[in-house]
């Protein structure tokens, strides 16, 4: 009985996810069935998921030339492509996270530095990664580096500003206490501000994970010549809606898994915001 319940509790989230997806898919299929959704533009899942092997041949794990010729074709090549894209996302994300955290801390730590850089960062923040492409190509040439750079750019400014806002919202009493205990400025940042902002910073990171996934699709178009972004681009160029939606599905699933992984890490690393602050109702 309790065993049963334990298992049920384990699989419940999975069941809900399946139910959730089913509804979404159901509505889509319905729209197609009623003729509202043109299958040329919005093919429903049963169409774009049919004939997978036919589609898989566009996935070339080496990524030299997605699309042309059929070197790909197996599930492994699909995983290979996803892996490459994930790698770019992850690298850009980690770099962006570290750099923005460091910048954010430095801006508040070194007053003058902060006053000099903050207006610049606020102005650079709204500039689209698309507009950075020439800079990326100029500085990094083609291949992985510009793609990673674009992912980094896309999250760096926003994360820096988020870090600043988190630092500014650290409860006054935490800092006062630290000063009473004789913390130097450096120690306050190291021992109080950093742990105090870490939980929310993780949430910000999770939000930016999605941003990074969004940008990688654009970035991969810039001479990387592989990855899910490049396949999407090719699919759009050749008006292959099935492939567009298959790729979107893969992106969605991968992004979802990334998010779940990050959630897990968050729960392990930030144990102190576990049971004490469940909020909600």
């Amino acid at each position: 009985m309790t065993l049963h319940r334990g298992i049920l509790k384990q699989v419940a989230p999975l069941l809900w996810s399946v139910a959730s997806l089913s509804i979404f898919v159901g509505l889509w299929e319905f729209a197609w069935w009623r003729g509202w959704a043109d299958p040329l533009l919005l093919p429903p899942p049963h169409i774009f998921l049919a004939n997978l092997s036919e589609q898989f041949r566009f996935f070339d794990p080496n990524g030299d030339r997605a699309g042309a010729l059929s070197e790909g074709g197996s599930i492994w090549s699909v995983l290979g492509v996803i892996g490459w894209t994930s790698l770019r996302v992850t690298t850009g994300l980690i770099l962006g996270f570290v750099l923005s955290l460091m910048t954010g801390l430095a801006i508040r730590y070194f007053r003058i530095f902060g006053k000099l850089t903050l207006p610049m960062i606020t102005m650079l923040a709204p500039i689209s990664p698309v507009a950075w492409i020439p800079v990326a190509v100029f500085v990094f040439g083609i291949g992985n580096p510009p793609a990673i750079f674009l992912v980094l750019i896309a999250i760096y400014f926003v994360m820096t500003l988020a870090t600043l806002s988190l630092i500014d919202n650290v409860p006054k009493s935490y800092v006062q206490l630290a000063r009473i205990m004789g913390c130097s400025k450096r120690q306050i940042y190291r021992h109080v501000i950093l742990p105090a902002i870490l939980p929310d910073l993780f949430v910000t990171l999770r939000m930016n994970l999605f941003g990074a996934w969004m940008v990688v699709l654009i970035a991969e178009a810039v001479g990387v010549g592989s990855g899910l972004g490049q396949i999407t681009m090719m699919a759009r160029n050749t008006f292959n809606a099935n492939l567009v939606f298959l790729t979107m599905t893969l992106i969605g699933i991968t992004g979802f898994l990334f998010d779940q992984a990050l959630k897990l890490i968050q729960r392990k690393v930030l144990w102190w915001i576990g049971p004490g602050n469940p909020g909600g109702i």
Partner: protein, 260 residues
Amino acid sequence: MLGLSIKDVSKIWNPGGPDPVPAVSNLTLDVAPAEFVVLLGPSGCGKSSLLYIVAGLEQPTSGTVTFDGLPITEPSPERSLIFQEASLYPWLTVKDNVTFGLKINHTAPAKREAAAQKLLKLVGLGNAGNKRPHELSGGMRQRAALARALAMRPKVMLMDEPFAALDIQTRARMQGHLLDIWESSKASILLVTHSIDEALALADRIVVFTSRPGRIKAEITLDLPRPRDLRSPEMVDYARRCEALLAEEVERAFKEQELA
């Protein structure tokens, strides 16, 4: 001049704003080295504000505060403050909270561990060292904050109702420990309390505040050995005097606000 010297200090909150609040007014008070001064006063009269200023967390609107002759401009571990509302860092265990100050001044881990063990037992949290702050009861949190302050061995201890959340027996124990530590360290202590008994048990000198803005209404010097018998006629007499002084001020404060 050695010791703490508060000269003509005033503190106005929101000074430029639409509703400035004078919390402390022209207050002058000296605390000699190794002196134990207890502040008594009606709720909201400015006691915490004064401690914040002495700690260096707030600047007085006017007047000066010096320690050993040097003006106080910022906090220092020499002058520890126990906040009225015990605040522990949620990301540290109770033990790490208690030894936070030691970690900051680079005490070796082994020494920290030993200090933590000793202090936690002292305040009755020997079993709670690995707990997280949110798992403690109100009184336990306050004791943890006390242990943290004691770990620092400061020259001045500023304590804002450090025992308010403790039952009378635990409180008596803590008072005993505090006196022991005070006597061995010869620190100056400035302690805020609402318990007249506590004031009488601990103080070299009791300073009674007026209602807001806080000024000194009376000072009572208790040149008596400790432990003191609070039921002795002399002590009961002191207690009556304190009560009467406070009663006047509370009366006045309530009158004022009812008229407003």
